[in-house]
Symmetry: D2
Subunit: 406 residues, 4 copies
C-alpha cells in the first residue's frame, strides 16, 4: 500500500533498509541472508551489502551453520544473528513505591534485575533524576559495570508523555507538569535516554519479547492503579499527536458518571481501577483489613471469592464495565489480538472468561472470530524490560545512522 506522507526527516531509504534488516534478524533470532531478502523485500544484493556493513560495525555476527540440520541439503547456509555484546541497554520503570531496573544486552538477553524503593510517590524532577542515576549506578555495579558501559536508557513512567519532545505533560510520579525529563536525564547521564509512557513500554515488551511477537496490530491493556493501554498499529507503537492518546482509562462510559481521579466523570477507570474498587468497599466494608491499598484489595477479592455478596457486587459491576471498555476497543481497532497485562490477582475477576465472553456479545457481530484476548500476568520487571527494549530500538537506529554517516 502506498504511503502518501513524507518519512521522518533525516531518514532515507538506505537507513530504513538497514533498520529493517536488523529488526528482521532480531525477530528471527537466526536467519539466512536470502530469508532476510524475502522478509524485507530488499534485493539479495542489497541485503548482502547491508549485512556486511552491520558485521563490520559489530552489530550482527555470523552463526556457524548447524550441520545436523543442514545434512544432505547441499551447502549449509550461514545464518546471521544480532551480536549480544554489541551494546548494553538499561530499562527503568518508575512506580509509586519503587524503581525497577533491568539491564539487557543487544540481543535482548537479561543481564540483571534490580529494584530500589522510592522515598515518595511524587517527586521533583531533580529528585527523580537523582533516584534514577543512583539506581542505575547500583544496577550497573551489581554486574561489575559502570554507568559509562551502558549504551542507552529507556524509561517508562505513568502519565502523559510527549515522546518526540521527551516531555512529561503530567505524571503521578512528578510534582510538577510539563517536565523536560528526557533532557534532564541526558544531562545527568552519559547516554541517550528514551522516555515513554509506561503502558507503551509494556506494549514494546510484548512486541519484542511477549505475546505480541509477529502480530501486526495489537493492543495491550493494563489495570493497576489506573487503566492503561498501548497501541501497536502496523508494527509501531502509536502515541498520538501530543502523546495523550491510548487513554483507555479515560474513555467515558457513562454520561455524568462516577468521578475519576482526573476530575472528569464517567471514565472507565472510575469504575474498574484499584481506587474505584476500594472507594466502593470503603463504604460497605469499613472494616476491610489492610494498611495498604494492596492489602485491602486482597481482602476485598478474598471476600468476593468466599461469596460475600456486596464484595461480589463491587467486582461484578467493575467486570461489566471492563467488558464494555474492551468491546469499545474492539469496535474501534478491530485488532488481531488484545493482551491484558498485569500483575494482580484482580485477574480472577476482571480478566476472567466471563468478562471476555461478555465483551464478545458487545462487539460488532460478523462471521469472523473476534480478536483473541490473552491474559499475560507479569510484574514491574517486564515494564522495565519494555523500556529497555525501547532503548534497544533507539540505539539500533542511532548505530545504523552512524553507519550511514560513515
Amino acid at each position: 500500500m502506498v504511503r502518501a506522507v513524507k518519512l521522518s526527516a533525516g531518514s532515507d531509504l538506505r537507513e530504513t533498509s538497514r533498520s529493517q534488516v536488523v529488526a528482521v534478524i532480531r525477530a528471527a533470532g537466526q536467519i539466512a541472508r536470502i530469508d532476510i531478502a524475502q522478509a524485507t523485500g530488499v534485493s539479495p544484493a542489497t541485503v548482502t551489502a547491508i549485512t556486511a556493513e552491520l558485521i563490520r560495525a559489530g552489530l550482527v555476527e555470523e552463526v556457524s551453520p548447524d550441520s545436523s540440520q543442514a545434512a544432505g541439503r547441499g551447502r549449509p547456509r550461514v545464518a546471521l544473528r544480532v551480536r549480544g555484546p554489541a551494546h548494553i541497554l538499561a530499562g527503568i520503570k518508575v512506580s509509586s513505591a519503587t524503581i525497577s531496573t533491568i539491564l539487557i544486552d543487544f540481543d535482548g538477553t537479561t543481564l540483571s534485575e534490580h529494584e530500589s524503593p522510592l522515598p515518595e510517590a511524587r517527586m521533583s524532577p531533580e529528585a527523580l533524576t537523582r533516584q534514577i542515576v543512583d539506581t542505575l549506578r547500583e544496577a550497573a555495579a551489581e554486574t561489575g559495570r559502570e554507568i559509562g558501559d551502558l549504551s542507552g536508557l529507556g524509561v517508562g513512567i505513568s502519565g502523559v508523555v510527549d515522546v518526540p519532545e521527551g516531555l512529561v505533560h503530567w505524571s503521578p510520579s512528578l510534582d510538577r507538569r510539563n517536565v523536560a525529563l528526557r533532557d534532564q536525564l541526558e544531562v545527568a547521564l552519559p547516554m541517550p535516554v528514551f522516555l515513554d509512557n509506561d503502558a507503551n513500554s509494556v506494549a514494546k515488551a510484548e512486541q519484542l519479547f511477549g505475546e505480541g511477537r509477529g502480530v501486526r496490530d495489537f493492543l495491550v491493556v493494563t489495570i493497576e492503579h489506573g487503566v492503561g493501554m498501548g497501541i501497536v498499529i502496523d508494527g509501531q507503537v502509536y502515541r498520538g499527536t501530543r502523546g495523550c492518546g491510548a487513554e483507555f482509562g479515560h474513555i467515558k462510559v457513562h454520561l455524568d458518571g462516577a468521578l475519576c481521579r482526573c476530575g472528569q466523570r464517567g471514565c472507565l477507570e472510575a469504575y474498574v481501577a484499584d481506587y474505584a474498587l476500594l472507594r466502593e468497599a470503603a463504604v460497605t466494608h469499613p472494616g476491610l483489613r489492610g494498611s495498604t491499598p494492596e492489602e485491602r484489595l486482597d481482602a476485598l477479592f478474598g471476600a468476593a471469592r468466599s461469596g460475600e455478596r456486596t464484595a461480589l457486587s463491587i467486582l461484578e459491576r467493575a467486570s461489566r464495565m471492563f467488558a464494555m471498555g474492551l468491546a469499545n476497543l474492539v469496535n474501534i481497532f478491530d485488532p488481531g489480538l488484545i493482551i491484558v497485562s498485569g500483575e494482580r490477582m484482580s485477574h480472577d475477576f476482571l480478566y476472567s472468561d466471563e468478562v471476555i465472553a461478555m465483551m464478545k456479545t458487545q462487539v460488532l457481530q460478523v462471521d469472523a472470530p473476534p480478536p483473541e484476548v490473552r491474559i499475560h500476568k507479569w510484574g514491574d520487571m517486564m515494564w522495565a524490560k519494555g523500556a529497555a527494549a525501547y532503548a534497544m530500538e533507539g540505539v539500533t537506529e542511532l548505530a545504523v545512522r552512524r553507519l550511514n554517516d560513515a
Copy 2:
C-alpha cells in the same frame, strides 16, 4: 522509527520509492526533482531514475518552468506533475436511495458526476452489481466514453467490509451477509475494483482533496443514518484486522443503555443517529410533519430552533452524547485533527461550537491545545470522490508494479 514487521508480500523498496514519488508529486501539484528527494528521503540520483521511468510510462509529465517566478534565480527548475489523462477512474457511493458516481482523471480533476435512483434500499448482490454496471455505463456515456475507457473503480458501501478480501461481511444495502462483492464486480467489469467501507472513502477523500491534506493522523466522523468513522494513521487508512474497526457508532457509552439497530445496548448511534432522534420524537411529537425520515428530521430541527422544549431536549441529549463520543476518540487517538463530515442541517446542533466545547472538557487535560475539529459539509458526491481516489491510489500502485515487472 524502525519497522519490526515484514512489509506486504511482493512489494520491494524500489516499488515503495516509486509509489512515494508519485504520491509526493500528486500531493504537491507541481514539484521539482530536488524537492521530491527532500520530501521522500530518496537520493536525488534515484529520484531522477524513478521520474524518468514514470514519464516514460506516461504517469507523470514535466511542466514548463514558470519564467516569471524563476526570474533572477538562475536556471529555472523544471517541475513535475501527475499526467491527468493517464487514467480515468470511477468512484461510486451506494446509498439507501441512490447511487452516486464520479469520474476523475489521474490528477484528481473531476470529469463528470452522475446520480441514479436505486429501486430499493436492500438488494441481492446480483441486483446491486447490475445497478452499478448500468450506472457506470451511463456515467461514462455522459462524457462520451465507454466502460472500457476506465482504468479502475472504487466503491464505497455502508457496513463492514473486509478490504483485503473484497468481502462485505454485512451491509444495509445487501440482503445477504458475507458477499464477495469485489470479485463479483470484477467479473462484471473489465477493470480492477477497489471496495471499501464508505466512511473510509470519506477519509480518503478528505486526505487527498479535503481537510486532511498533509495531516499525518486524523479522524473523519460522519453522522447520517448511522454514525461512521474513518481513521487515518501515519498517512494510511486504518481498517482493522477483519474490517470491523472504526465502528464509532457502536462504541458503548452506557451500560444497558438505549437499544441500537445492531441489537446491542448503549451504542453511541442509539443516541445520536437519525433513527435515534426520530425514535424519541415519535413519542413526544406524534404529529411531526413529513412522509420521509428526512422531512420529519427537518421538522424536528425546526421545532428545536424555534425553541420548542422537548425538541430541544432531544437534540441536547444527543449533543451531549456526541460530545462524549468525540472526547473518547481524542482520548484514544490524540489525533492532529478531527473532521466532522456530512451533509445535514443536524450540524446546527450536533456539530455546534457548544458540542466541541463540551468535548474539550472531557478530554485529558494537558498544556497543549486539543485537536482541532473541522466541520466539513458535503454530499454524497464527495463520498463517491473518495471512492474514486481510492481507485486512483490502487491503479497507481498497479501501474508502478507493472513498471517494476518491465
Copy 3:
C-alpha cells in the same frame, strides 16, 4: 392514634359513625350488632340506634338467623346486611377505544355489563359527555331500566384528576386541559357523579371486591398504555393535594434517561410502558407483524418467548426497570400488599416471579418478610366496577348525611 387535624367541614362524629357502621356491614357481608360495635369501637347502644336508622332508611336489612349454625348456642343472633335494591350504581371506565359500563346494586352485586366503542381516542368534553350519557342509557335499557333509576355514577378516566374539584387537569381522552368534567356530567345526568383517576378506580375495586379486602395499606400498580398506581393508606384512597400523586409511571429512574411521552426524561414509563417496548422494537424488529400496537406487542412477546435474543433484551431491561420501580414503592410505602393489576400477556415477563425476586433484592433488608405481591389479571370491566364502587361509597355517604339532616 390521635388526629391533630380538623376533620372535613360538614362531617360530624355521628355521621362518621354511621358511615363506619355501613362500611363494616358491607365488608362483612352479614354481621351481628355486637360484632359491629366490636369492629368500630362505637358503643353497642349507639350501634343499635344507628342500625335502626339505617333499616328505617332502607339501606340495611336484618337477616333471619341461620338456625343450623346457631343450634345449641342460645338465642340466635340476628345479623344485618346491606340492602341490595336500596340503590343502583353505574360505573364507567373510559379507555382509548371503548367505554366500559357496569351496573351494580347497593351490596355490590353486578347487574349488567356493557361495552361501546369510542369513535376517537381524544374528544372534546362535550363529545365525551354525550358518549357517556348515551352509553349509560343503553346500559340501563339492557336491564329494563332508565337513567333515572340510577342513584349515582362513578367515572374512571386516565390522566390527572382533582377529585374534590371534579376537574380533569389533563387526560389522554380529552382534547383540552382543565375540564370541569364532573360538573358537566352532573348537568347532563340526573344523579351525582363521582369522578376519579382510573388507577384509583382499580384501587377502589381491589379494596371492595378484590385482593385488597381487609388490607389497611396497599398499592395497586397497573401497566397498560402507561403505568398507573392507586394508593390505599389507612383504608382510604390517597389522592394527593392536587390530584397529581401516585404517578408511579413518572418517577424518574435515570438522570437524563429515556424520553417519556410526558416530555420529561427518565420516567419509569419510558422504559416499561407499551409504547416504550414498541419504540425499541421498531428499531430492531421493523418487520414486527401487526397493524395495531396490541398485535405488535403480541408479536414481540411471542418472539421473546421463542428465545429471540433482541426481543428478550427489550423485555429484560423493562423487567429490571420495573423491579426497580416496585422496590422504590416498597422503600417508600412499606405496604402490606402490592397488587399488580392488568389484563395483558405482558404479565409473563414484567410481572414474573423473577421480577418480584429482583424487586426483593432492592428493598431495605430487615428481618421481616417483604410485602406480598399479588398478580391480578382482569379487564376493563373491573376498572368500571371500581368506578361503580366509588359511586356506591359516595351515595352511601350522601344517604347517611340525609339521615342526619332528618
Copy 4:
C-alpha cells in the same frame, strides 16, 4: 369520606373525641368551646362534657378572657388551653457522637436542653440503654427534677423501627439487629417510652411546632449522614407496615448505580449523602483538610463556593440527583408541602433555589402550582423536641384513656 377499616383495638368514639379536643386546643394555643365544636365536628354539648372531664383531670385549664379584645362584643368568651404543668415529657435524639435531650412541659414549652457525648457510634442495646438513663438523669437534675418526675420519654433513632412493636430492626447506633429497645428502656425507666425513627421525630416536630402546623399532607426530608424522610398523611405520621417505609434515601435512581452503604446500588443516598460526597472528594481532593467528616465537608463546600471546578462537579451532580429525588416524591405524594430540614451548610447547594427549580421541571405539569418547598435549618435539639412531642401525644392518649376507664 368513609373509613372502611376497623379502628385500632381499644379505641372508641368517646376516646377519639377527647383526643381530638385536646389536639385542637393544643394546636390553637387558646380556643373557646364553641370553636372546638366547630373544628372537630363534635356537638357543643359533647364538647362541654369532654372539656369538663379534661379540666377535672388537670390536662386543660380555662384562660381568663382578654378584656381588651372582648370589649363591646357582649360577654367575653372563656378560652381553654392545655395546662403546661400537667406533665413533663422528655425527648431524646441518638446521634452518632452525641445524645441530645430536651424536656418540655405539657403545652410544649421547652424546659431544658442537654447534650452528652456518646463514647462510640455503635453500642450494645444495654450500653445504649445505660447511656439514655444516665443522660436523662442529668437532664432532669439540671432543672432540679428527678427521672420520676417525667411522664414519658420519646426516643428518635436512625434506622428501621417497627413502632407498634417498639422494635429496632436495624440502626447504625446498635451493634445488633432486631432489638426490642422500647421494652428494654421501659424496664430501666419508670415511664412509658415512645420509640420512633428519627426522621419521623422531625416530622412530628414540624407538625406540632414547625412548618407543618395545620398542613394535612406533608413530607419532611432530611439530609445528613444519610437521607431521611417523614411522611404525614391526613394529619398522621405514616410509618408503613413493618416500619420500613419512608426510605427516601434508598429509592433507586439508577440501575446498577453507585454503591450505597446498604449494600445495594443506585440508592439516592449513594449520590447525595455526606459519605457519598466525601467518597468522591477522597479521590480528587486527597488533601482535603479536616480530621472529621464534618470538617472535610466544610472544606469541600468551601472549595465549591470559591469556584473550584471538581468540587463544584461533586455538588452539582448531587444536586441534580437530589432534585430528581424530590421530584419523585412530588410525583408520588403530590403533597401540600415539602419541608427540607437539617442543620448543615450543605443547604447552600443541595437545598438551593436551583435545585427546587430543577425539581419543578421534573414533576408532572398541571395548571396548579407545584408544592411549596420550605427549607428549615435546625439542629439535633429539634429532633429531640420531635421525640418529646411524640411522647406528649402518647401520654395524652394514655391520660385520655385513663379518663375513659374512670
